[in-house]
Every structure is written in structure tokens, then in C-alpha cells.
């Protein structure tokens, strides 16, 4: 048996380094889960196409093109649609003990959250870029300068960063994935299959609210 010498770490890792490490881990996880990329985009595209082509004809916007009114508003609200994933991700990390492992390290607590917020903001930016491109594809045209449009996009990213903190807080308070997805859990409650006993030949999807 050989004795092994364990040396103590030289010092705490800097907050920027730890924030970058946590952020990079979040982005790697996102890239390695292509369902998140594809389904997030499909959901965004589906809503945009619905509002553009299904409900578009029924809505009148005072003297301007409906699509020019719709797309900027939709892109802004996408921040909330996409950002909600952060609450689920954080709740998942809490549930799997990832944060407990980080807490045992000599790193700043706030930097862990900052890394997570920055990484999720990057993911929101990616989704916003995709939906904006789709907006142009369905007929949206800029009525102002390119600089103003870039300013609008930057403003959306800034909103994304601000709301990421709210979603991170929600994920931490929720503590588990199901609680962090209020919409999904309410749907699950409403349409939870009831145990089918003898003589039950109806639909398996029975509203629980009845």
C-alpha cells in the first residue's frame, strides 16, 4: 500500500472563472440535448405561424401592417416562453444534487447563479435570433434603421437577462421539475388518466376537474 499525498487547493477560484465554468456547462448540456433546440424552435414557430396566418385576418391594427405589429411583440414575449426553461433547468440541477456539489467547492455562490443567468441569456438570444429570422420569412419588414432594429434586439436580450434571474429564483424555490413547470403540471393534473377499473370503457383522458 502506497501512501498518497493530498494537497489542499491553493485558493478559491475567482468568481469570473467559476461563472464561466457553470455557464459553459449549461451551454454544453443544451447542445447535447438537441430536443431542447428543435422543440423550442418548433413551439415558437408554431405560435408565430398561428398568430400570423390563423388569427391574423381577424385582427385590425390601426393603419399599419398586422405582421409588422405582431413580430416585434411576439419576439419580446418569446423571452418569457424560452426563459421559462431556465426554471426547469435550475430545478433539475437542484433535484440532481448538482448545486450541492458546487456548494462544497470554495467558489462564490453568486458566481454560480451569474454563470447560469448568462448561459441562459445566451440560449434566449439564440432562440430570439431564430424567431426573428422566421418573422422576416413570414413578411415582417423593418420600418426603421438597422441600428434601431439592433437596439430593439439588444433590448430583448437585456429583458431576457433580467427575466432569467426571476426564472432562476423560481427554479430554486420550486425545487423540483414538475413544480417549476406550472403550465405542464396543470395540464397533467387536468388530463391525468384515471385508473381504469372493471367496466371502464371510455376515454383514458378524463378531466380531473369534473
Amino acid at each position: 500500500v502506497t501512501a498518497q499525498t493530498v494537497t489542499a487547493p491553493l485558493g478559491a477560484t475567482g468568481p469570473i472563472t467559476s461563472a464561466i465554468s457553470v455557464g459553459a456547462r449549461t451551454i454544453r448540456k443544451f447542445i447535447r440535448t438537441p430536443q431542447l433546440i428543435i422543440l423550442g424552435f418548433v413551439q415558437g414557430a408554431m405560435f408565430l405561424l398561428s398568430f400570423r396566418y390563423v388569427f391574423g385576418g381577424a385582427i385590425s391594427v390601426g393603419g399599419m401592417s398586422y405582421v409588422d405589429f405582431l413580430v416585434p411583440g411576439y419576439v419580446t414575449t418569446m423571452v418569457l416562453f424560452v426563459g421559462g426553461g431556465a426554471a426547469v433547468g435550475v430545478a433539475e440541477d437542484v433535484g440532481h444534487g448538482f448545486f450541492d456539489r458546487l456548494r462544497s467547492l470554495p467558489i462564490s455562490r453568486a458566481s454560480i447563479m451569474a454563470g447560469r443567468a448568462l448561459a441562459d441569456t445566451l440560449l434566449v438570444t439564440w432562440s430570439l435570433a431564430l424567431v426573428t429570422a422566421l418573422g422576416f420569412a413570414v413578411g415582417f419588414r423593418l420600418q426603421s434603421s438597422l441600428l434601431s432594429a439592433l437596439g430593439a434586439f439588444g433590448l430583448c436580450v437585456l429583458f431576457g437577462f433580467a427575466f432569467e434571474w426571476v426564472f432562476i429564483l423560481m427554479g430554486l424555490l420550486a425545487g423540483n421539475t414538475q413544480a417549476a413547470t406550472p403550465s405542464a403540471s396543470s395540464r397533467a393534473r387536468t388530463y391525468r388518466p384515471r385508473p381504469c377499473h372493471r367496466g371502464c370503457a371510455g376515454s383514458p383522458l378524463i378531466s380531473r376537474s369534473r
Binding site: V61, G62, G63, M64, D68, F69, V71, P72, G73, V75, T76, T77, V94, F99, R109, A110, I112, M113, A117, L142, Q143, S144, S148, A149, G151, A152, L155, C156, L158, F159, F161, A162, F163, W165, V166, I168, L169, L172, L173
Partner: protein, 52 residues
């Protein structure tokens, strides 16, 4: 306010006529909201994480 700010920036003068305010008005209010949200939620998240 945030949506109006983005609409004012992308739709230009037409949106100013529709909303009766210029883009700068909505941008400042949106930035104030953004700062307020970050100032409230970021420390709250950090404190919640530290106390768990």
C-alpha cells in the same frame, strides 16, 4: 412598456403615431423596469441559493 419599446424601435414613426409617445419614452421606462427586476431578483436568487 417593453413590447412598446421594441415596436417603436422596429416600426419607427408609424408606431409613434399609434402610441402617442416616442421610442425614447418607452425605452427609458423599459430600462428602469429591467434594472428593477435585476436588482430585486438577482440578490434574491443568490440569497435563496446560499440558504438552501
Amino acid at each position: 412598456m417593453m413590447v412598446n419599446a421594441v415596436r417603436s424601435l422596429t416600426d419607427g414613426p408609424r408606431m409613434t403615431l399609434l402610441l402617442h409617445q416616442d421610442a425614447a419614452h418607452f425605452i427609458w421606462i423599459s430600462l428602469a423596469w429591467t434594472a428593477g427586476i435585476v436588482l430585486l431578483a438577482a440578490p434574491a436568487a443568490a440569497i435563496t441559493f446560499a440558504r438552501r
